[in-house]
Structures are given as C-alpha cells and as structure tokens.
Amino acid sequence: MSEHSHPTPGLYVVILLALVVGTCLTWGIAFVDLGKWNPVVALTIAVIKAVLVVLFFMHVHYSSKLTKVTISAGVFWLMIMITMSLSDYLTRTFLPQ
C-alpha cells in the first residue's frame, strides 16, 4: 500500500467540510415535512457520509481490490440479514400486540 498515493490534508479538509454540511443538512431537513421521505433522505445522506469516510478517511479509495470486496461482502451480508428477516415480518399481518 505504501506505493499507492495517499490523500493530502487538503482533501481531508474537503471531506470534513462535506461531512459537516451533510450533518447540518440531515438536521435541517428533519424539520421539514417530506412525509414518508424524511427517513429516506436522512438515511441517504448518512450513506453518503459513510461512503466518504470509508473511501477517504479509511483510504479504501487507494486500497486493493481485496479490501473493496471485503467491505462489499460485509454490506451484502448485512443486507441479507435485514431483508430476509423483514421478508417474514412484512408478509404476515404484523404481530399484534
């Protein structure tokens, strides 16, 4: 990895600013009524922020394919857990309590 290029402090500052803007945006939009899109927007911003952190702060943008595959596998497995669990809950009348 040492031969690969590394991000510079300048880029780090840009990412930091992007993250701060993202956070403020999340906060601000939370008070605007978007109906059912509120959580979607909030999570989309969260995903973008997470991707920025992963790519640049965690250097994945500059890392080997193996690292990228590893991360994708993790996300994929998480999705398996969530979607397959929900496949049960969403297809029965929800547990009345």
Partner: protein, 361 residues
C-alpha cells in the same frame, strides 16, 4: 417393555396420508442414494484395493459428470420442495366452515374451549369427518401443539393467535404433545385427543356441563367490563359498532386497512390505541392485566356472533368506510374468505350457541 412396538405412527387425519406419502418418497430417495454411495464405496474399496504394484489411474475430473450430479439432485430436490410446499399450503389454508375450538397453553397444561362452552384440560374431544380449527395462544412461554397422529404441529405463541386445523378420520385416543421446550415439566405438558364419531361427539357435548355457550360467556364479560357503554349500534356511540365487524376490513384513522380478525380484536382490547378505527377518538383504556386470555377468547367469540339483522351481513362489502377489495393486503385475503363463512357456524347437533343477539347490545 412393549415388545410389539410400532414403528409407524397411526394415521388419524385427512392430512396424515399426504404427509406419509411424501415421507415414504423421501425414505425411498434416501435409501436409494445411501445404498448407492455405500455400495460404490465398498465396491471400489475392494475392487481397487492396494496390491503390490497396483497404480491408481489418474483422472482429473469431468465437467459433464459434475453437471449431471448437480442437475439430478437439483431436480429431485425441486420435486420435494414443490410437494412439501403443496402440503404445507394446504395445512396453512384453513377450510371453510370449520368447527372452531380455542386452546390456551400455559406452563404446563393445555386448556380447550368449545363453542358450546365446554371446557377441557389436557384433553380435546373432536368429531370425525369435520374440519376442526384450533386457535391457539399461550399465557407464558412458547409451547407447541403437536398431535403426531394428525401430523399437525404449531408453535403456540404468547400474545398472538395462531391456528392449526385437521380433519380427524379415525375414532380413537391419540397423543397430544407440547413439542417446544417450555421449562421444567415440558414432558408433562401432554394430553389426549379423543376422536369420536359425530354421534358420540354429540352425546359427549350434551353430557358436558357448560355454563352456557362461549359466546354467551363473552357477552357476560362484555357487559361486565362495560364495553357496551361505548360499543353501541346507535349513532352517538363513542366506540365503533361491533355488529358484523368480524372478518371485515377496517379502515383506520391513518388510512391503513386491517382485517378485523381474532388478533385484531385481541390487540384492540389490550392495546386499543394501536389501530383506531377511522372516525373515532382513541379514548379506550387498555384492558391489559384486567381481562384473562379466556375472557378475551370468549369476547372474541361473542363479537363473531354479533351480527346486524340482515341475512348475511358479513358478505356485505359496503361497509361504512367503503373499502374496496384491492385495498386489502393480499395476505389477508385468504383469512377473509375463511372468516366470511363464520355466521353459518353451528355445533354439530345443530344447536346454535345461545343467541346473544337476543339482547341487542
């Protein structure tokens, strides 16, 4: 020790034959492949045993063979899947016009309530030739209602109704097991299912001491807890009118549509504010910790029997909230069909449970 021990369970329900057929098919498959592999291994081990000078013939593999023994098992397993799924679907889809029995599991006993008001503990009497639907709930941990002779099993969950159904074919006495580990006396949570001919069953029903039908018990509870104060048919009522509501889609304040089934009624008693009917205020207090499971069952049964004076009101779709079929979530469709048969329900000897609507709430 019984030395003439059986090695195959009795078949006492309409489902048993179907399940056994699949079982025997699978036994056949298993025997065939196990023997095939065993014979091949032993044959190779002997035929190609190491003798001085024997050289193995190097074979790297064969893609054709790999494909063959991928596709054949895949084909066989798809047959098994479809076969199993068909039986399962049949099991999960309750029959029209069943005899409805309620069962409550608790550490460590089974309680059953018949529509006529008869109660039993650890014993369940059912007639032959009639579809019996057992609606189950647990008072504490998870239990499982298991009658091997019928090939039915259903985990019994706390706080949620589940059901299983069967059609007994052979009179006799069969095991009832709890098959989900439920604590110290798990193996003591056993009982009997007594299957009788319809005539015997009728006389058993008649001989049983019932304090009145389940629905009439429910009516008593309904009045005792003051439900009638708000749930009235007149226009000024503070709660929705419950007449003919059972089995119908209901529109809620948040525009969702749910089905008024056993679970919905139960939830509305215990957590009234969770799904409030459109046009009503959520002012009903919770009855959690006040009513018992048995009473909820009785009240549910009572609500089922509450019908407006029209002939068959539950088939009448034009409810006050105007719900179209397409709005009802798919999963609920099948429940609905089954539930619409409800008003026709009668006990075998043709005696309707004490008519609660005689005293219109």
């Amino acid at each position: 020790m019984q030395l003439n021990f059986p090695i195959f369970p009795e078949q006492a329900s309409s489902m048993a034959g179907q399940v056994d057929a699949l079982y025997l098919f699978l036994v056949l498959i298993t025997t065939f492949f196990s023997l095939l592999i065993a014979i091949l291994i032993l044959y190779f081990a002997i035929k190609y045993r190491r003798t001085p000078g024997r050289q193995a013939e190097q074979i790297h593999g064969s893609t054709l063979l790999e494909i063959v023994w991928t596709v054949i098992p895949l084909g066989i397993s798809m047959v098994i899947f479809v076969w199993g799924a068909v039986i399962y679907y049949h099991m999960e889809r309750p029959p029209a016009n069943p005899l409805e029995i309620y069962g409550v599991g608790k550490q460590w006993m089974w309680k059953f309530q018949h529509p006529g008001g008869q109660r039993e503990i650890n014993t369940l009497h059912v007639p032959t030739g009639r579809d019996v639907k057992v609606t189950l709930i647990s008072q504490d941990v998870i239990h499982s209602f298991f009658v091997p002779a019928f090939r039915v099993k259903q985990d019994v969950l706390p706080n949620r109704y589940v059901f299983t159904w069967f059609k007994a074919t052979q009179p006799g006495t069969y095991h009832l097991f709890c098959s989900q580990y439920c604590g110290t006396k798990h193996s003591g949570m056993v009982g009997q299912v007594v299957v009788m001919t319809p005539e015997d069953y009728a006389s058993w029903l008649a001989s049983g001491k019932a304090e009145g039908s389940l629905a009439s018990l429910g009516e008593k509870a309904f009045q005792q807890y003051g439900c009638t104060t708000c749930h009235r048919p007149d226009s000024g009522a503070r709660g929705p009118n419950l007449e003919g509501v059972y089995g119908r889609p209901i529109r809620l304040t948040d525009n969702r549509v749910v089905l008024a089934d056993d679970n919905y009624i139960r939830e509305s008693i215990l957590e009234p504010n969770a799904k409030v009917v459109s046009g009503f205020q959520s002012i009903m207090p919770t009855f959690r910790g006040v009513v018992s499971e048995d009473e909820i069952i009785a009240i549910t049964e009572y609500i089922k029997h509450l019908s407006p004076q029209q002939a068959n009101p539950l088939n009448n779709r034009s409810t006050p909230t105007e719900i179209r079929d397409s709005e009802v979530p798919n999963i609920q469709q099948q429940n609905k069909q089954q539930n619409q048969q409800q008003p026709a329900q009668q006990t075998p000897q043709g005696k309707r449970p004490a008519n609660p609507s005689g005293k219109k709430p």
